[in-house]
């Protein structure tokens, strides 16, 4: 299906090498509208919403940021390392959000997830988790699983 031309312009910004070397859509052949729709349904199925997921993720990043690059333990379960790099990357949705190049690595006993500040912004504001195969694709189900490990412990 043809998509809104504005969404098409955003999709063009997302291709490999336009704003970032890896691109935001990876090997995904679906249109941006379909990618957004699929993750919307996944988040809906998890019984949560984009903003709630992003808020939880952001709390890990904030905890790690204070340590200036040194790994810290959050909630006695997660190892969090935050690294800051030079420069900023604009949000491909063209809303003048310049994300700082901050990478957060969160490891639980069973899994490790990475995300950037741009991921946080795109999840929060646009419900976008990147296309399948993209370097910084972060599956909403994986985030939920990571967060559940703590609940399981209690």
């Amino acid at each position: 299906m043809r998509q809104d031309p504005r969404l098409q312009m955003i999709e063009n910004n997302m291709h490999q090498g336009v704003l970032a070397t890896y691109g935001f859509l990876g090997s995904d052949t679906r249109s941006l509208a379909d990618v957004l729709q699929a993750d919307q349904i996944a988040v809906h199925d998890l019984g949560t919403d984009h903003r709630a997921l992003a808020t939880k993720m952001r709390s890990f990043t904030a905890a790690g940021l204070k340590a200036l690059g040194v790994p810290v333990t959050v909630n006695r379960l997660y190892q969090v390392t935050v690294e800051e790099f030079k420069g900023s990357i604009p949000c491909p949705f063209g809303d003048n959000y310049q994300a700082r190049k901050v990478l957060t690595q969160v490891s639980s006993p069973t899994k490790t997830l990475y995300w950037s500040d741009l991921n946080l912004h795109m999840i929060e504001e646009h419900g976008f988790y990147e296309g399948i195969g993209a370097r910084y694709r972060i599956d909403p189900r994986a985030i939920a699983e990571l967060l559940e490990e703590e609940a399981d412990r209690r």
């Binding site: 299906m1 043809r2 998509q3 809104d4 031309p5 504005r6 312009m9 729709q37 919307q40 349904i41």
Partner: protein
Amino acid sequence: MDGGPAISPIILLFAAIFTSNMVLANFLGMCSFISVSSEYKTASGLGKAVSLVMIVTTVINWLVYRFIVVPLGLDYLRYIIFIVVIAATVQIIEMAMDRYLPDLYMKLGIFLPLITVNCSILGISLFMIIRDYSLVQSLFFGLGSGLGWWLAISALAAIREKIAKNKLPLGLEGPAITFIITGIIALAFIGFSGIFIIQ
């Protein structure tokens, strides 16, 4: 042929808006109708652009048909000819707008390339040939159809904006509910039928 059927152009105008609405009665131009109707502002912009292109291309296609296609006996080529005429016209409109009406170009510019392949535009040109409209009739028919398309997509987008705030059953999200709404709007438009008969 010059006289066309005995329908007043004004009646044709209203008929094209209400009783034989391009999208709701003839189901033409559905693609962009469904996919670009999630936001009222965007939808209305597209509607205006479609109206503009419809008026211009109907007139040009009428002239091309009357003075080139018919004399050369190329009636069987009319689909191809209409399509290329529409494509070229949209290109030129885009350039002229950029130069003389930059404000309008900003608002409608991004929709123009999308319109080239909108089947309702081609539909108008074909209807006008099949129904033997005169130039004046074609002009009003094009204008009416454009306004009708604009009305339909604006109505749909306004409803979708309202719905977006509510929770829907999962299977109905997106295109599914849009088709259902379209169907209901079309049913409502049936209420107009019988007022003017043009097809």
